[in-house]
Symmetry: D3
Amino acid sequence: MAQIVTLGEVLMRLSTPGFSRFEQARSLDVTYAGGEANVASALAYWGHSTAHVTRFPDSPIGRAAGQYLRFHGVDISHIQYGGPRMAVYFLETGAALRGSQIVYDRAGSSFATCDPEVFDWDDILKDATWFHWAGITPALSQEAADVCLQGIQAARKKGITVSGDIFYRSNLWKYGKKPSDVLPELTAGTDIVIANHINVKEIFGIECTDFKDACVKLQQAFPQVSRVVDTHRTSLSASHNLLRAYLWNGNEMLETPDVDINPIVDRVGGGDAFIAGLIHGLIRFGDEQKALEFGVAASALKHTIEGDALVSTEAEVEAIRQGETSGRIKR
Amino acid sequence: MAQIVTLGEVLMRLSTPGFSRFEQARSLDVTYAGGEANVASALAYWGHSTAHVTRFPDSPIGRAAGQYLRFHGVDISHIQYGGPRMAVYFLETGAALRGSQIVYDRAGSSFATCDPEVFDWDDILKDATWFHWAGITPALSQEAADVCLQGIQAARKKGITVSGDIFYRSNLWKYGKKPSDVLPELTAGTDIVIANHINVKEIFGIECTDFKDACVKLQQAFPQVSRVVDTHRTSLSASHNLLRAYLWNGNEMLETPDVDINPIVDRVGGGDAFIAGLIHGLIRFGDEQKALEFGVAASALKHTIEGDALVSTEAEVEAIRQGETSGRIKR
Amino acid sequence: MAQIVTLGEVLMRLSTPGFSRFEQARSLDVTYAGGEANVASALAYWGHSTAHVTRFPDSPIGRAAGQYLRFHGVDISHIQYGGPRMAVYFLETGAALRGSQIVYDRAGSSFATCDPEVFDWDDILKDATWFHWAGITPALSQEAADVCLQGIQAARKKGITVSGDIFYRSNLWKYGKKPSDVLPELTAGTDIVIANHINVKEIFGIECTDFKDACVKLQQAFPQVSRVVDTHRTSLSASHNLLRAYLWNGNEMLETPDVDINPIVDRVGGGDAFIAGLIHGLIRFGDEQKALEFGVAASALKHTIEGDALVSTEAEVEAIRQGETSGRIKR
Amino acid sequence: MAQIVTLGEVLMRLSTPGFSRFEQARSLDVTYAGGEANVASALAYWGHSTAHVTRFPDSPIGRAAGQYLRFHGVDISHIQYGGPRMAVYFLETGAALRGSQIVYDRAGSSFATCDPEVFDWDDILKDATWFHWAGITPALSQEAADVCLQGIQAARKKGITVSGDIFYRSNLWKYGKKPSDVLPELTAGTDIVIANHINVKEIFGIECTDFKDACVKLQQAFPQVSRVVDTHRTSLSASHNLLRAYLWNGNEMLETPDVDINPIVDRVGGGDAFIAGLIHGLIRFGDEQKALEFGVAASALKHTIEGDALVSTEAEVEAIRQGETSGRIKR
Amino acid sequence: MAQIVTLGEVLMRLSTPGFSRFEQARSLDVTYAGGEANVASALAYWGHSTAHVTRFPDSPIGRAAGQYLRFHGVDISHIQYGGPRMAVYFLETGAALRGSQIVYDRAGSSFATCDPEVFDWDDILKDATWFHWAGITPALSQEAADVCLQGIQAARKKGITVSGDIFYRSNLWKYGKKPSDVLPELTAGTDIVIANHINVKEIFGIECTDFKDACVKLQQAFPQVSRVVDTHRTSLSASHNLLRAYLWNGNEMLETPDVDINPIVDRVGGGDAFIAGLIHGLIRFGDEQKALEFGVAASALKHTIEGDALVSTEAEVEAIRQGETSGRIKR
Amino acid sequence: MAQIVTLGEVLMRLSTPGFSRFEQARSLDVTYAGGEANVASALAYWGHSTAHVTRFPDSPIGRAAGQYLRFHGVDISHIQYGGPRMAVYFLETGAALRGSQIVYDRAGSSFATCDPEVFDWDDILKDATWFHWAGITPALSQEAADVCLQGIQAARKKGITVSGDIFYRSNLWKYGKKPSDVLPELTAGTDIVIANHINVKEIFGIECTDFKDACVKLQQAFPQVSRVVDTHRTSLSASHNLLRAYLWNGNEMLETPDVDINPIVDRVGGGDAFIAGLIHGLIRFGDEQKALEFGVAASALKHTIEGDALVSTEAEVEAIRQGETSGRIKR
């Protein structure tokens, strides 16, 4: 029974090798990933007991996806099998002035068409102390939105900490609901919100001048929210980024210095690694500044690793947090 | 403007490398293929002008699919772009006593959801002398069935030879129609039918004792049908097959001897290569027996080639037809 | 807590790609495998809860090994971390008249140098109904022999079924003990013995004329042994084998027909797959003949799959057991 | 029938994988490319109808080369087949302070030994509005020089715009002629010349102090020349270049700012992509400054793509031209 | 200084991966090989000191070729560097009824255009006891034919055993000489001739009814010839061959039984491995029957190994010669 | 017989492809390398006759290692075969802020357990003018330390120049001796010492304030030492380093400017390439400043090449030494 439970769609990731374009690739590298599952994977590598909740087709492809999460150390015993298909995304990795490109093929996935009733949240959250969701789930379908709400409410009832990555893609939300119809209720049950001030304005209709202003007003609107967090990326090129983060804890705005990442190996999953790092830091360190820095360090490290998942030890992230970024050989 | 026009869904083919199982594969080989497009590809390598009609998503993936057909020499100027997604199939290649395994993910493809009106058959068939369709198309959706019927009727009107691969998968046909609702009308406009006697019984409700009986009765029911063709495969193992074929021309039943194929490199597309070979033979040789043998030789050769498409010269197939199967080095 | 517990060394398997010789390879495929762990992996794919007991170095290599077993579904929570090194074996896959070749580099491994006291067998076997060991373990070192004996005795005490693969390699046993010093005590606690009559003669000094004779006399010497099992392989070439098996249950000698395997993709782990299939059959079917056939079918299927581990479903093995070896495509 | 026709040798490109040296490579990546064909490929991706004229051996290798151009969308119906061999070039990709290295093996190619009479320029240029040649063609052989002159003259007669990349390699020109013997006549029929002032001095014996001076004097010597274009590359390392370009239109010298490219994925074909971009810009935009910038953007993008050919959409290049070089992910 | 010296062209071998056709391959495997150099390589693996004589271009490609021979253990100190180009051959590996296909691109190679005077045969053959040549060398060019004659004559003068593989390709010999102009003089200086009776008839105009008759008459015509050897291949398919050999020693015709090879991994170089085995046997065993069998065993083993060169130990070949072809795992 | 002789352990190098982590890799690239052998390899590419002395297991793996050195041009005739195992190291290549990671598995290697008596130094050094050793050898075992001392003493007796890379890893030295027990005697016989001032302090107990002070005092303690050399690396990240070097010749401290390396392809072996370059420079140029610069240029070039070995020509290194680091394409 896991301490940290995450919920969300997992996609087959099909990426072109090296820097090949889609038209050039005669093979695609295959892994399985999703924003919330990436959080669970990273945390499992650092010694947390984590479980991911989703639904896969009952096929060799679906079983392969489950195995892949288990490979990372995530408990897959709460995953449901059935439904029409695996969600897929195609990735072409950019370099220099050419950005990476993602093509989604996720409509009608087994997760999006799930029956919300099959997830037994009492059982899933039995030993949990943390529940994490993201804004993409309610964007997929009414069923997915329902599952998300049920998870949050069950966590709320048990007094489990809830974190939510409010970020959403506007080109999802095709089932008749708008973000503003659904996200407020989900946010109301959430302790830690990852969002920027534009999200706050667009989703909740809260007029705000900057991130701090958004944080203050979001807390006023949603009293359960104790912290609001955001990262800031300076994209000099597809190969060279700077990264820093902010955390509002109700009293003050904490921030980190920029971390320089050059060259980037694989940028996808960088945001999820940040969230995992932040959660780890809050649980282990009891120090918000250190937790925020650990999140940025985890995210920076993720940019140097192929695949969505942050495969690392806690010590590796902590060394980067402490400024050891010279990249010397470890023997 | 092409002489031979084929119609049908094209899928992204994602196959595990070597003999890897789905669970083991960390990369997948990618090509683009479909039964009818495979016929067009094989014929293009033998010098025919061929065009394929289908619909792809307007995305890098869809464009890559088009390029792949063009690579084989197929005219792609009648392909439509739009709609939700690329159809996909996953292939795991078996060996010895383990059969290959295919997982389809084709529901809701851009082709299946096409608007039948956008295909201008007068233009598409302007210079055509042959039109080929298969029974999978009407199984996909009402739209696909409509496109298929329009193509056949346009060909009929122009006096173009029509061939149809009646074979169908029973686990498709999910849009409310049954094969027996749709296939009779399509068959009525077809000159050359590829089918076995079980198809004939199941689809048309024609009671028949064997293949010859089925042929005779099918012609009685559908006077336009001038020839009925079938292949027979003896599957000793996933790596060792024997292949022969039969052709009923209204008067007599022609047949070929078995061709021995061992080991099989890639069995997928073997049936399409047979049809391509048969069409080529009928057009070029004006000799049904030779055409039938050319079809079997083409199919056998396909089994030694990776991918759905038969990449070959006419001379290579003809040498096999003439019994040169010793596999000596050509310098 | 696992039902089936296996014990033994796990090695990094480094195999040349395709049919490359060691001298030619510029890359090596890497997986992690060992005879007893292979049994646990195969059983996990068929739905059993399995755990493997061993020791890995506390390094990225050791952690990777653990992850690999977890990928197959094996519980790794009883694995110890520490000691000097990962055992390794190098594999070159043969074809036709060239046999495969294995070079071991396992001396001084973390498992062979373990402290037997750290394994808490009461805890490990808490929910277990089956314990499996093999004759390679006591050949490695006194420490490994001690762990093996402790596992068997703990299982005995709890009334858990014990199976032992008596097979040993004479070029191990370098720590001062001979097989005849150690194996009798281990065998005395074992219910199901996998052995041939030459093993019986060499290890226990039991003179016997054939396999049946060996079985009878082995049972007389070791009353706990209820069944003796052996496989028989006809090696026509590195690519073509026939396989059958025998089981003596105290009353009669059961046997299976030969299964023909051609071509062989990867022969390593074939014996372990047989044992897994046998265990599965005995647990699930309660029918010794069917269990024996399931073992042979599992072993045959393994020969078509890359790697030591049998990645399969129960249905796939059962189909082969029922004679479906024609290798037709599954869609 | 194509609007834009290019002429020139196409070579098999055999490049070492990653950054391997020739001595290290046990496999070579294979594509087919040539300066002028690269121009045709890039333009085909942007929607132009293009055809390339060359000659390949009548072998599987020659056919593969043709297919490769067709893959990119180039009409290959005017390619001749015959002659002794495919031209080849070997490429080793450098990094940091190690430059890439090219070894040519092009002597006696099928194109260099072609019969100039077989190219029917009236037919080839039937619907053409643009003809492009380069200074490497007349350097190969008298036959190639003759073909080039015939193409230019046929274009001149039809009033088709002619562009010529005057750049030449001094280590070619082994058939008895010097650049100054041949290039003046070719240049006399050319509208747009790509050259730098050293080319102008060396080839035409025109003394000039800088690029502008060279442009003015070149126009005086060759009144048909309406524009002279050059790129300027600052090579900080094999992985980091700056790129800008100049265009003299008879009245004023246009120029672009530097574009920063870091890291470079594949620098080969960068000059051809510039020419393709310039041609596209002049045809589509009717704005020389924008066309020049589009050329530089196309060239910069090419540096991030493997292979000689610029596989891209017009929109991708245009975004870079407008300064969007931050490399953010496109979803 | 080497005991066994071989002479001949070495080509870059570019082979498609797996069973890919030329049109499908996006990478080619690269090694360096030639009939006579293959003999030297195989012998070096069995402990002979061997040197190969040829000429490579003075380029990274030429140096890589030299390194590759050195990798196999062949002394490359007598190789000359210079001239225009590396000879190349392209290989597509067949399977089942599809034969492998080779495309040569060897005209004008550095070896074919060598200056015969630069080879100092006194120095090259200083410690030699055996010299081997093949009929392809005099087919390349007058220069190559001259080098070959000089080598044979130098060996003759020193009393060194000379073997010659008379086999030739009729599509070479383009420099004005016919085989019958050149090969008699080379054969006159040769002790051991590898040839079949058709070669004997075509090259020397010797009418003969079968192989034995050819041997007798060849010896009459060329008294230096002490042995005539031939192999016989039964090609059941590209994947399944039988192989045996004959040796006429002036008195009797020795022969071997057929060796069955199934499946074939790489057939190229099989004849060269036979010659190497024969030479080894004659030198080491002093037993013609055993030498002939060792040759066939070596050739059979080569068919299971990728690349032209037989990478093996003497013990491996000897085991096959003694009938150990069951392909069991060696540990 | 070689001019330059090197001594030391050679390890199988197993590196993850691209930037994969150990946990992610399903294949490992394999080469064979060791600090001193890397020196011999680099020098062989520049035309020196070099031999390496070590011991490999008598197995296909050991033979493959020998072949690999021979591939680079190193004489392997003095290598001994026997003993238990090949030393191995696992490498994971880092990028940006993630350093590379090395895991050693070298205990009990065939070299570490060699019999020092089998190396016949009189024969090994017969034609030698230079002998090179490193501080890792005496750290492995008493046997290895003894071999090292014997080599140095034999070289001393013959008046051969001796260079020693004093650098050592503190986590070796497990056989009971400390560096200070063994290294002084080895250093006493050495002419050119590669060391930094911390080594000098820790190994010899010489208190020193900086590198120059260390050099002066080291020479006082060991009069045979004529030069002390060190490199200095500024590690901005795993992908971006600056490199310079210092040489104390007894009179003055020479130094080089920093060379900028960005991006780094493979940093391992960079120090060995420096030593090779220095040795080459001292032998060929007779100019210490130029030799030092050549060493730094060689080291910088190595960073752009995959594998431990510097595969390069002398001209390539010399061009970098002269400041040609713009990375332009060489044709």
